[in-house]
């Protein structure tokens, strides 16, 4: 039982971090219609900033710079590239982001080399033990922070003018524009939010129990894609809930691999996608997706 609860806690805390990344996908997609293939390298850029600055200026200041830096990077990508596409449509935008990803990732790989840069967080390799369940402190902090961030996002979208403008633009950009919502502003806000969330996720994904900042960190954004799709592409709540589902299912598949051997080895990698395809077979618009998105 303790074992089950440990894996469950592992999965939930990991799932909350996946949720941070998946929400970034959702916000960029709803605000500018872009499938952001460069999300992973934005995440890595933020984490790299933190790791390389934490020595000289301390962890907390570095974390602030990293989060702001990733947000600015997102805004710049949107303003300089996405808005200047020769023809704006989701297909070309997605490929544009692939190009951006190649450039960013190549440069970061060159800078990091084969080092694993320490993120220098104050929680180090500490762990918290409650009733026989041991969880890394970083994961507990991550879970707490993610819940706070999700609360703030709710407040932003439900209670502030800027957030309502973003939602309106996402739901119907033409009507929103007629009502005075500036799509350039909501787009920039979306990219900034997504970049900041990615950097926060990056900090925790580079903290213990993970080793630090290495180029492979950029791949972690791929792990959030099933969560995004499962949640329904355009639903922030869906992304958070699906993040949790994917996190838990993955942790249990790995934890009980010995018992699930008949399904083949290396189950942890395929299970998120298997869950995603199964859900889409039943609900093509995902768990929380708007029906409009797929209406025939």
């Amino acid at each position: 039982m303790t074992y089950f609860l440990t894996q469950l806690a592992n999965g939930l805390s990991y799932g909350l971090i996946l949720g941070l990344i998946a929400v970034g996908f959702v916000i960029v997609f709803t605000s500018t219609g872009v499938l952001n293939f460069a999300h992973g390298s934005v995440l890595l850029s933020g984490a790299y900033l933190v790791a390389s600055l934490q020595g000289p200026i301390g962890f907390w200041a570095a974390a602030a710079v990293g989060v702001v830096g990733a947000a600015v990077l997102g805004v710049l990508i949107n303003a300089l590239l996405v808005r200047n596409l020769a023809e704006a449509n989701p297909g070309t935008a997605a490929i544009l982001m692939l190009g951006v990803d190649i450039v960013l990732l190549t440069e970061l790989t060159r800078r990091i080399g084969n080092n694993v840069l320490s993120i220098g967080a104050p929680w180090g390799a500490d762990v918290v033990s409650v009733g026989g369940i041991t969880l890394p402190t970083s994961r507990v902090v991550a879970a707490g922070l993610a819940i706070v961030v999700f609360g703030l996002l709710w407040f932003l979208f439900a209670r502030t003018g800027a957030g309502i403008a973003m939602r309106a633009a996402a739901a119907d950009s033409d009507t929103a524009a007629m009502m005075g919502v500036r799509p350039s502003r909501t787009g920039a806000a979306g990219w900034a939010l997504a970049g900041a969330l990615a950097a926060v996720a990056g900090i925790f994904l580079a903290s213990f129990p993970a080793p630090g900042v290495a180029p492979t960190l950029a791949l972690s954004s791929f792990a959030a894609i099933p969560a995004w799709v499962l949640g329904g592409f355009d639903s922030v709540v869906g992304a958070i809930v699906s993040g949790l589902i994917i996190g838990v299912v993955t942790a249990l598949a790995v934890g009980y691999e010995a018992e699930l051997h008949f399904l083949g080895r290396g189950l942890g990698e395929v299970v998120p996608y298997a869950v995603m395809i199964l859900v889409l077979l039943v609900r093509p618009s995902g768990l929380f997706g708007r029906k409009e998105a797929v209406r025939v």
Binding site: A86, P90, G91, A94, P226, I277, L281, V294
Partner: protein, 389 residues
């Protein structure tokens, strides 16, 4: 006259492609084989994405299916991995058929999801494929992969054997040379089929679905069925492309069919210009050849740092240039490579005719005579109707 202008470059390109093996060394021959295999896959994807408006990131899955189907069908029944020992020609056809059938099985999803949503859903297939390739060892050879028997027709092998020695105009024709013509033939056939498909009834129905599903449904098109059909066709193309890749490699393993391959196919068609067969061809050649050429020749640039010294080395520069090239095409070339080419052609023919056509056309407009192909740039998910067919 317009017929010659239209066909001229194509015929010339074909003649050049026929003659090239006489001049090229192995590096370029191998590059050409990979490029032509990719051309077939890219045409299939551009029919799905550009014509039907459906996005797929599962192309690598169907390529893998085709590759392993081919290897399994021609495989030695007594060999290490299972095989049927059937003739290669049967295997090539089967590669397309099996991929098409599996593409059809996916229709509950491919018929209901639209555009970019389908694209993301199909990512799952690639990871599923990897799991199967690694775990179904008897069939696939597991992570080590399995060897692929060379292609042959009775009396002639597309490898270095049977006949052992073959020369054309003094150039010895080895396996790579012979495969070149096989690949060229299949690529041309795929392009021809793709063109007819796009211009025919099916293509028009798919274009209607892309532009407005409601309007298409009102006109009597079964929307779900049309979308599933497009997916099946594109899967068949991917299967053939996979079989060609298997032949070009000589040995296949799960690592060859990762998500990167799906993404590469998508890059090819978007760079080339969505929906255009010629664009898909140009995009495939660009995506396959550019990194290879950069890798091959960038090391000769004098101003670069030695690898490992921490400076900007040739390999890093090549990768950066590749990324920058993708960005530049998308920012500055409307309609991708095909769009740019048709603009140039348009401009030139306007000059030649000396008629009152606009001298510098900022955006391409369809030739009123209908002789030139319609502008290929159609959004993957569009709500506006621009098609006039």
């Amino acid at each position: 006259m317009s017929d010659l202008i239209r066909r001229g470059p194509m015929v010339l390109g074909l003649l050049v492609a026929l003659a090239l093996p006489l001049l090229l060394d192995d590096f370029w021959l191998q590059t050409g084989l990979f490029a032509m295999a990719s051309v077939v896959g890219a045409i299939g994807l551009t029919l799905l994405v550009g014509v039907a408006g459906q996005l797929s990131l599962g192309h690598a899955f169907f390529a893998a299916l085709g590759a392993y189907t081919y290897a399994w069908t021609v495989g030695d029944p007594a060999g290490q991995e299972a095989g049927l020992g059937l003739p290669p020609l049967v295997a090539l056809v089967l590669a397309g058929v099996v991929s098409a059938v599996v593409g059809g099985l996916f229709s509950p999803i491919s018929g209901r999801l639209r555009g970019i949503y389908l694209g993301l859903a199909t990512i799952g297939l690639v990871f599923l494929a990897r799991h199967l390739m690694v775990n179904l060892e008897a069939l696939t050879g597991g992570f080590n992969g399995r060897t692929v028997e060379p292609f042959s027709v009775p009396g002639f092998s597309f490898s270095n054997a049977a006949p052992d020695y073959l020369a054309v105009a003094g150039v010895q024709f080895e396996g790579l040379h012979r495969l070149w013509y096989l690949f060229l033939g299949i690529a041309v056939l795929s392009a021809w089929l793709g063109r007819n498909l796009r211009a025919g009834r099916t293509g028009r129905a798919l274009a209607n679905v892309r532009d407005s599903e409601v309007a298409a449904a009102a006109m009597g098109v079964n929307v779900a069925r049309a979308k599933a059909t497009a997916f099946v066709i594109s899967s068949a193309y991917a299967g053939i492309a996979g079989a060609l890749m298997a032949l070009a490699y000589g040995r296949i393993a799960p690592d060859l069919f990762g998500i990167q391959l799906s993404i590469d196919f998508l890059v090819m068609i978007v760079l080339g210009g969505l929906g255009s067969i010629a664009g898909a061809t140009a995009g495939a050649v660009f995506v396959v050849a550019l990194p290879l050429v950069l890798a091959q020749y960038s090391s000769q640039l004098p101003f670069l740092a030695a690898p490992g010294s921490g400076g900007l080395d040739a390999a890093t520069l090549a990768r950066l240039l590749y990324g920058a090239a993708i960005i530049a095409v998308l920012l500055f070339l409307r309609g991708g490579l095909a769009g740019a080419a048709s603009r140039i052609r348009h401009r030139r023919s306007a000059h030649q005719r000396g008629t009152g056509g606009p001298p510098l056309v900022p955006t391409p407009s369809p030739d009123p005579s209908g002789a030139t192909e319609p502008p290929p740039s159609q959004p993957a998910v569009s709500t506006r109707s621009e098609e006039k067919s």
